[in-house]
Amino acid sequence: MTPAPRQPIVLRLLAATPRAGWLALGAFALTALVVVPGLYLFTPPGSPLHVPDHVLTVGGKIMCYAIVAVAMDLIWGYAGILSLGQGLFFALGGYAFGMYLMRGIGRDGVYQSDLPDFMVFLDWKALPWFWRGTDHLAWALALVIGVPALVAVLFGAFAFRSRIKGVYFSIITQALTYAAMLLFFRNETGFGGNNGFTDFKRIAGFSIVAPGTRATLFALTAAALAGTLVLVRFVVTSKYGRVLAAIRDSEERVRFLGYDPLWYKLLAWTLAAVLCAIAGALYVPHVGIINPSEMSPASSIEIAIWVAVGGRGTLLGPVLGAALVNLAKSWFTVAFPQLWVFFLGAIFVLVTLYLPDGVLGLGRRVLRRGVSA
């Protein structure tokens, strides 16, 4: 068979998303890259157009979560792999970037030492080997991508090779993140124990609380979300994506067609891990802290419910779900702190029982009924 003439990759990426998608993405980019940061920076605090600090923080946080949700959807919605340990990759990315931010504190810490405060507190004399080079942004970014990717490839190769799937895979990923959480809780592990990293001062030489830095971070996060959407869209509309979905529906049949599911799953799994890690790295400067609770099984399983609420197997669904659940959480924990857990539990039960396709599926059903009526 003659290979198709090579098309430039940019064109292929462009072609993967339909025109309406590009319009929506353009609108989002305009809002998140120009309008919101602009209003935040250049309108006076009293003005009705002004975007206050906390909106920027919550918005940035939710966009990070949305990236995680899209990554989760890639493996769960499209490949049928329900990971209950995605928080591990998010946290690994966060910790890798957190190391850079910790080094950025320099001698401005409480103990005015070159070492991060928690190391002084533990009476350590020198940086552990794995902290070497973390004061360089480029190396830190390499770690953000490299470490989670390595963990994902190793674990995925083991798990997929022995054909661990379904609930087995889910539970083992949960155990994985739980074990990692215990490891990071230990002071001796070298990541600040249960306090993790906090009190960051600057990022790439700029003060982390300066409005300009915050606006830039917000815009960067929005760009990362947009990039994630375009990339995942390309992946799932390729033939690879169709093989992936076929593996979800009948792995054995795919095997008898001559495809080895191992590589397909491993690629999607690793890509999802890296996307989560990037989201984690962006998340840390937004909220100013990273600690082992990000690796708790509960936070990982919540990611799954964002995707379920929004609608699996779609790209907009996870973004919507991440936003809805987290906005509800922000509101509930202020208004009815006692009821939040009940509400969250109820979402888990009701969405799986009554909204198998999430809010998007519901909306589509309502629309269809409206058209046919």
Partner: protein, 274 residues
Amino acid sequence: MTAAPSLAMAREPAPRVPALGAHGAADVSHRVILYLEDVTVTFDGFRALNALSLYVDAGELRCIIGPNGAGKTTMMDVITGKTRPDSGTAFFGQALDLTRLSEAEIAAAGIGRKFQKPTVFEHHTVFENLELALRADRRARRTLFATLDGAARDRIAEILELVRLSGEAGRLAGQLSHGQKQWLEIGMLLVQEPQLLLLDEPVAGMTDEETERTAELVVGLAKERSIVVVEHDLAFVARLGGKVTVLHEGAVLAEGKLDDVKADPRVVEVYLGR
């Protein structure tokens, strides 16, 4: 009757199929495409296959019959790599040791299998089902950037015509009728272009008319490739012609023309009971 692979051949390490993309052509220089020799498979002490030996020639249309539990499906599982035999050898052509290859490698090497229950990808369209089965590079990073060229589209259209699903190309496979799914699956096997086609009860649940059309199709296909059919329906087997092998308790009981086999008293006893 048929020559086993020479010892020297068997002792050499089986060359791994270079890549899932490269369609490995089985070496049929000795006329035989499939060798099963002394294959034994046990499940918890139960011998599903008991020193089974079977040879299929290139271009042959072979029917396998036998009562339930005779080991027909287990034999298919061994050939396609789903089950590893406890002992014995299985070769595809002269050089490919099936007991050492994965299911995917075996499929890529040119053995296609149709299951008893029609299994198509229900959430994919008919066209996409065929696209996935189409003979092409199976490696993940290739599929990421793969595009369908004109020749591939023509090939799919041709098969759609053949299995009478041209009008359904854009429908989800899950919405097809049972018979249409059977046909789609056969279509998928055809675009896969296997050298050896294993059909497990291809006419189960089909109407008489569909059965007749399937028989026609299978006979036509046998001109270009080797086919092994496992079937209960003796009328269908008779319609196919070809040599018949009777399996019983995991071993070959009789082999030959259908009429001769039917006359064999041992076969009569196994089929009609004592």
